[in-house]
C-alpha cells in the first residue's frame, strides 16, 4: 500500500472518510457539549457551564440498574445469536444444502418484519401458550432480531475465504476439526467478532421490542431513557450519553492495551 499512500485518489478517500466520521460524531459532540449546559432546554448559545446534570444522574439509581440489565442482556444476546449465526453460516457456505437460498432468506427474515409486528406477534403467540413475560422472553426476542445481522456479516466473510486453504490443510493431514479451529475460525474471526459486536450493540440500543417484551420492573437503558424523556427533555440524558461515550472510548482502549501486552508477551 506504500505506493498508494501519497496518491490523489487515496487522499480523496481519506478526506471523505474524515468527513463521514465528522458526520457520525456531530450529534455526539452536541450531546456532550449540552450535557454541561446550565439551562434545561438544550438551546445554543449555551447559557453557562454546569455539572448539575451529572450530579442528578449519579443519584439516579434506576439508570444504574437499567445499565446493568442492558449489559447482561446484550452479552447473552451476543453470545447466543453469534453461536447460532456462525453455525448456520458455516452450513450455508461450506456445504451444498438443498434450498440454501431459501434457508438463508428464512434466517434473515426477522429484520424484514417491522419490529412492531415482530413484537406484537411474538407477544400474542406466547400469550396464547400462557407463557408469562420474563427475562428469557426478552432474551429470545433480542436473539431473534440480532441473528440476521450475525448471519449477514459472517456469511459475507465466509464466502470470501478460499476453500483451497482448508483443502490444503486437510490434504496435509489435518482433521476437519483441526482445520476448522486452526484455519477456518481464525480466518473468519473478524467477521465473528463483528457479528457479536453488532448483536450486542443492537440489543443494547433496542427499544420497540423491549417495550413489549420486558417484564414489569425490568428496564433497559433505552426504555429507561424513554420513560425519562416522556416527562421532560432533561440534559441528564445528555449527561448519560456523555458517560456512555467516556466508557466506550475507555473500554476499547483498555482492551487494546491488554491485547498489546499479551501479544508482546507471547511474542517474547
Amino acid at each position: 500500500m506504500a505506493a498508494s499512500s501519497g496518491s490523489l485518489g487515496w487522499n480523496l478517500v481519506r478526506v471523505w472518510t474524515l468527513l463521514v466520521y465528522i458526520f457520525m460524531f456531530l450529534p455526539i459532540a452536541v450531546v456532550v457539549l449540552l450535557s454541561f449546559n446550565a439551562s434545561q432546554f438544550g438551546a445554543f448559545p449555551m447559557t453557562g457551564f454546569s455539572f448539575r446534570w451529572f450530579v442528578e444522574l449519579a443519584q439516579n439509581e434506576a439508570i444504574l440498574r437499567a445499565f446493568r440489565t442492558s449489559i447482561v442482556l446484550g452479552l447473552m444476546t451476543a453470545l447466543i445469536s453469534t453461536t447460532l449465526g456462525v453455525l448456520a453460516s458455516l452450513a450455508l457456505v461450506r456445504y451444498r444444502v438443498p434450498g440454501a437460498n431459501m434457508i438463508s432468506t428464512l434466517l434473515i427474515a426477522p429484520i424484514l418484519v417491522p419490529e412492531v409486528v415482530l413484537a406484537v406477534a411474538l407477544l400474542l403467540f406466547l400469550n396464547f401458550l400462557q407463557i408469562n413475560k420474563s427475562f428469557t422472553l426478552l432474551l429470545a426476542g433480542h436473539v431473534i432480531f440480532t441473528l440476521p445481522f450475525v448471519i449477514l456479516v459472517v456469511q459475507a466473510r465466509l464466502v470470501s475465504i478460499k476453500r483451497d486453504v482448508e483443502e490444503a490443510a486437510m490434504s496435509l493431514g489435518a482433521s476437519p476439526r483441526q482445520t476448522f479451529f486452526q484455519i477456518t475460525l481464525p480466518l473468519m474471526l473478524p467477521a465473528v467478532l463483528a457479528g457479536a459486536l453488532f448483536a450486542f450493540t443492537i440489543s443494547f440500543d433496542d427499544i420497540t421490542g423491549t417495550l413489549f417484551w420486558k417484564p414489569g420492573g425490568v428496564e433497559t437503558v433505552p426504555t429507561q431513557i424513554f420513560a425519562m424523556l416522556r416527562n421532560s427533555i432533561s440534559p441528564e440524558i445528555n449527561a448519560l450519553g456523555t458517560v456512555m461515550i467516556v466508557m466506550t472510548v475507555g473500554l476499547p482502549l483498555l482492551g487494546i492495551a491488554i491485547a498489546r501486552r499479551l501479544s508482546s508477551k507471547s511474542g517474547a
Binding site: 457520525m24 418484519v113 427499544i207
Partner: protein, 288 residues
C-alpha cells in the same frame, strides 16, 4: 454410516438451532398475525373472530396506503444510495489503512452507544432554530434570520442515514477486508492503473458486502417509525407509522396485521431479488 450420509446430515445439524429459533420465535407467531388479519375489529374495540376480507380489501385498494408505501420505498432508496456513496469509501479506507482497523470500526459503532432516541433528537439541537448550525450561521453573518431546516423529508433522510451508515460501512468492510490485496497488486503489476485495478478486481469482489449493506439499510430504513416521528413534519409519515398507528393508536390489530404483512411482502420480494443478485456476484467471483 457412510461418509456421504454424514456429509449430507452435517449442515442440517449446524442449521437446526438457528432454524428452530426462527421458526418458533418468528414464523409461528407470524402465522398468528396472518390469522389475525382476517378478523375484524368491532366498534366496541373487541376483535371478532372469523374470516373477513375487509382488512385486506382496505389495505390493497386504498390509495392512501399505496401512496405512503411508495413514498416509504422512495425514502428508503434515497437513504440507501446516500449510505452507499458515503459508506463505501470509508469502508475502503478502513480496510486498506495501516492504522488500527478495530479502533476505526469501534469508533464508527460509538454513536450506537448513545441511545437511538437521543441520537435522533440531537439533530434537533443541530438543525433547530436555536440549534448549533443556525447559531453558527447567524454569528458568522451568513444569514440574518434562522433558517427552518427541520421537520421535512430531508431531515428524516438525514436522521436515517446517520442511523444506518454504520451498517453499510461494516458490511462493505467485511467483504473488502476478505479480499487479498495481492490481487490488486497483481493487477497493477500487469499494467492496470490503481483505478482500473479497483474497478475490475476489488469492486466486483466487494459487491456481496455492498449488496448486504444496501439490503440492510433499505429494509431497516423502510421499517422505521421513530425517525419520521421525531424529525419529520406533519405529513412525513412512513409505512411503519401506519402499522404502528393501526396497532397501537387505533387498537385495530386485524388491520395492523394486514398492513404489516403487506410491507412484509414488498420487502420479501426485495430479498428474493437480492438473493438472485448475490448469486450473480458469486458467479462473477468464481470466474475471477
Amino acid at each position: 454410516m457412510s461418509v456421504e450420509a454424514r456429509e449430507a446430515r452435517q449442515p442440517w445439524i449446524l442449521l437446526s438451532p438457528a432454524l428452530t429459533a426462527v421458526t418458533f420465535l418468528l414464523f409461528v407467531p407470524l402465522l398468528f398475525i396472518v390469522v389475525y388479519s382476517f378478523w375484524l375489529r368491532t366498534a366496541t374495540g373487541a376483535d371478532q373472530i372469523g374470516f373477513f376480507l375487509d382488512n385486506w380489501q382496505e389495505a390493497l385498494t386504498d390509495r392512501f396506503y399505496r401512496d405512503i408505501l411508495l413514498n416509504t420505498l422512495k425514502i428508503a432508496a434515497i437513504t440507501t444510495l446516500v449510505c452507499a456513496l458515503m459508506g463505501y469509501p470509508a469502508a475502503y479506507f478502513i480496510a486498506r489503512s495501516k492504522g488500527n482497523k478495530a479502533i476505526l470500526l469501534l469508533l464508527l459503532m460509538l454513536p450506537f452507544w448513545i441511545s437511538y432516541i437521543i441520537r435522533t433528537m440531537s439533530w434537533i439541537n443541530i438543525l433547530g432554530v436555536s440549534g448549533a448550525l443556525n447559531t453558527f450561521l447567524l454569528w458568522v453573518g451568513v444569514i440574518s434570520e434562522p433558517i427552518q431546516m427541520l421537520y421535512n423529508e430531508q431531515s428524516v433522510i438525514l436522521g436515517l442515514v446517520h442511523f444506518l451508515l454504520p451498517f453499510m460501512v461494516l458490511n462493505v468492510f467485511v467483504s473488502l477486508d476478505g479480499i487479498d490485496t495481492n490481487l490488486e497488486d497483481a493487477a497493477n503489476s500487469l499494467g492496470a492503473t490503481r483505478w482500473q485495478a479497483f474497478k475490475q478486481v476489488t469492486l466486483p469482489l466487494s459487491l456481496p458486502g455492498l449488496a448486504a449493506g444496501g439490503l440492510l439499510c433499505f429494509v431497516l430504513g423502510a421499517g422505521t417509525y421513530i425517525t419520521p416521528l421525531v424529525l419529520g413534519g406533519a405529513t412525513d409519515a412512513m409505512f411503519a407509522n401506519l402499522v404502528f398507528e393501526a396497532i397501537i393508536t387505533q387498537l385495530n390489530w386485524p388491520l395492523g396485521s394486514a398492513l404489516s404483512l403487506m410491507l412484509l411482502a414488498v420487502l420479501g420480494a426485495l430479498v428474493l431479488i437480492y438473493n438472485r443478485y448475490l448469486g450473480m456476484a458469486q458467479l462473477m467471483k468464481g470466474l475471477g
